[in-house]
Amino acid sequence: MHKCECEQPLVPVIVEVVDIKDETPDIKSFFVKNPGGQGLPFNVAPGQCAMVSYLPVGESMISCTWQEEQEYLQFAIKRVGLMTDELHQIEVGQKIGLRGPYGNGFPVEACKGKDMLFIAGGIGLAPLRSFIKYCFKHREDYGKIKIIYGSRSYADLCFKEELFELWPQQKNTEVFVTIDSAEEVWKGHVGFVPSYLEELNPSPNGVVAVTCGPPIMIKFVLGSLEKMGYTDEQVITTLEMRMKCGIGKCGRCNIGSEYICLDGPVFYLSQLRDLPQEW
């Protein structure tokens, strides 16, 4: 039994799912707060994550895609395996486990005064969204905002209302959306994110680029940015490795001597260049 006063970083707190929203056929947003609806178990900074747990099945590291003050924590979760399948079955009112916040988060302070370029693919928009929404909330602190986002199909585009209605209305903001292959319903751009990025060719002057998506997309985007003249200090990405503990103990999420769960998941490209090429 636990007799001492020490903290228990590996033991989740119980939270209540107060709302669930279908984002795409295989991504749902889960809104959680303390059971009974009183506040949040902890605060999460943009880019930080939490271990979301359907207790009898497992735990998964998930980026907190948005914290609305003391109202809710939002997680956008793609159905890919044991735990996430189970979560997609639950209904509002369900209690689940949560521990965190984990990871370093985005350097929101260091980016102040800069123009921002966000480049995401698929569920990779979920972590970037916390930074994007932070910029809108502190609009005067950031310059121009460009968002380039792509998914396999129109149906697979996440956060559609924001993409097509809310974000383009924001001051000094442009949103560019693409899908992998043509569809009848889709009148917009068709093609992969990295080639769309090169087509748009946004100038690197005074810009910080932030990217997240499938590993293959990240690789090509980083290559494109380099070609376009972005330096390694101007590029930020978030990495993903399999995780268990989330606190730098269990060993598995290392790249070289860094643990993605603790020292990441957010890195400047210049930091990654010093690490073994395992990402």
């Binding site: 636990h2 020490c6 033991v11 119980i14 207790l55 490795m241 730098g248 103990k249 060993g251 070289g256």
Partner: protein, 338 residues
């Protein structure tokens, strides 16, 4: 000096056993390792305090092979964690060798520093007293002296014993050690005995500079050659006193169950396999490389000391003849390709 006569050892252990679970090296049937004194069977088992390294190290005392973490209870849409299972019952590791204690110090770094203290580890660890058995006669596989371990004056011990023939010279180092010493004060005598003379190491291993050189060798072809024979069987991680990687899993019976953690091995494919099948270390050689880099480079970079303590166990246990000493040699000799 205080000494504990070998003739009184078993009575002293019986006494210690009343206040704590005492783990010490013994041979049990085909196996040797650190077992509870309670399980010692006179006439069948053999105490192995004289042996250098028993097959299995005492790491399970600080990090059990499986350990319950917390209970889980489901009631409709409700989920409850009613109990957590930190275990602070007193334990003694008696007769641990300096390399195995260094391994525990490495785990202390992992579990107790860098932002988070692991409550399960911390509670157990604080209730553990370590009695070190200083080494004067290194074995054929030993190379702790090359791995920042002092075999004669081990760090991390609460008490150090030294084999002086008929008795162990008994030196108390910490308040925890004093508490233990006072429990068996009646068995200790004042006597002047000659200390053993430290013998030279049989293997000559030169680790210095390896970590720095390895930093330039991640992409080197040498790994394919070094790891060619490795089956990724994981026995090296199992017998290693400092391999601490763990998995977290769950066990349910209907609506009740618990979450537990258990040892894991970086040698296994599932260790880093992601949902959807991706794996940054999908290839056996990549896992082999990660293990040896973790031991010899990454841990040193992060915590300032290597994660290999020179105990030699993996050299003895490996079915493929992989030898970490030879690996260090080959790395030191390798030419760097630009």
């Amino acid at each position: 000096m205080k000494v504990l006569s070998k003739a009184k050892l078993e009575t002293a252990l019986n006494k210690l056993n009343q206040g704590a679970e005492v783990f010490l090296p013994m041979q049990k049937a085909q196996e040797s390792g650190f077992y509870s004194w309670k399980l010692f069977q006179q006439g069948q088992d053999e105490l192995m305090l004289d042996a250098l390294n028993v097959y299995l190290p005492p790491k399970h005392v600080v990090l059990p092979q499986t350990e319950r973490m917390y209970s889980i209870k489901l009631e409709g849409q409700d989920m409850k964690i009613e109990q957590t299972f930190e275990d602070a019952s007193p334990r003694v590791i008696f007769g641990a060798r300096p390399c195995d204690i260094k391994a525990i110090l490495c785990m202390d770094e992992v579990f107790l520093t860098r932002g988070y203290e692991d409550s399960f580890y911390k509670c157990r660890r604080e209730a553990i007293t370590i009695v070190a058995n200083a080494c004067y006669q290194p074995g054929p596989a030993c190379f702790c002296n090359a791995m920042e371990v002092n075999p004669v004056e081990p760090a991390g011990a609460d008490i150090i014993i030294r084999d002086a023939g008929e008795a162990y010279v008994w030196e108390t180092k910490t308040p925890k050690g004093e508490a233990l010493t006072s429990q068996i004060a009646e068995f200790l005598e004042e006597k002047s005995l000659a200390l053993p003379v430290a013998q030279p190491f049989i293997q000559d291993v030169k680790y210095e500079g390896t970590a720095e050189k390895l930093k330039k060798m991640f992409a080197d072809h040498i790994w394919a050659k070094l790891g060619e024979a490795c089956h990724n069987c994981g026995i090296c991680t199992y017998v290693c006193p400092s391999c601490y990687c763990f998995d977290i899993q769950v066990k349910m019976w209907g609506d009740e169950g618990y979450r537990f953690r258990c040892w894991d091995s970086c040698m296994y494919e599932e260790y880093s396999r992601e949902a959807g099948g991706g794996n940054p270390r999908g290839d056996g050689i990549e896992r082999f490389r990660n293990r040896f880099l973790h031991k010899l480079e990454f841990f040193k970079e992060r915590y300032g000391t290597p994660l290999c303590t020179g105990c030699g166990r993996c050299i003895v246990a490996c079915p493929a003849g992989i030898n970490i000493v030879k690996i260090i040699d080959e790395i030191k000799e390798a030419e760097l390709h630009a």
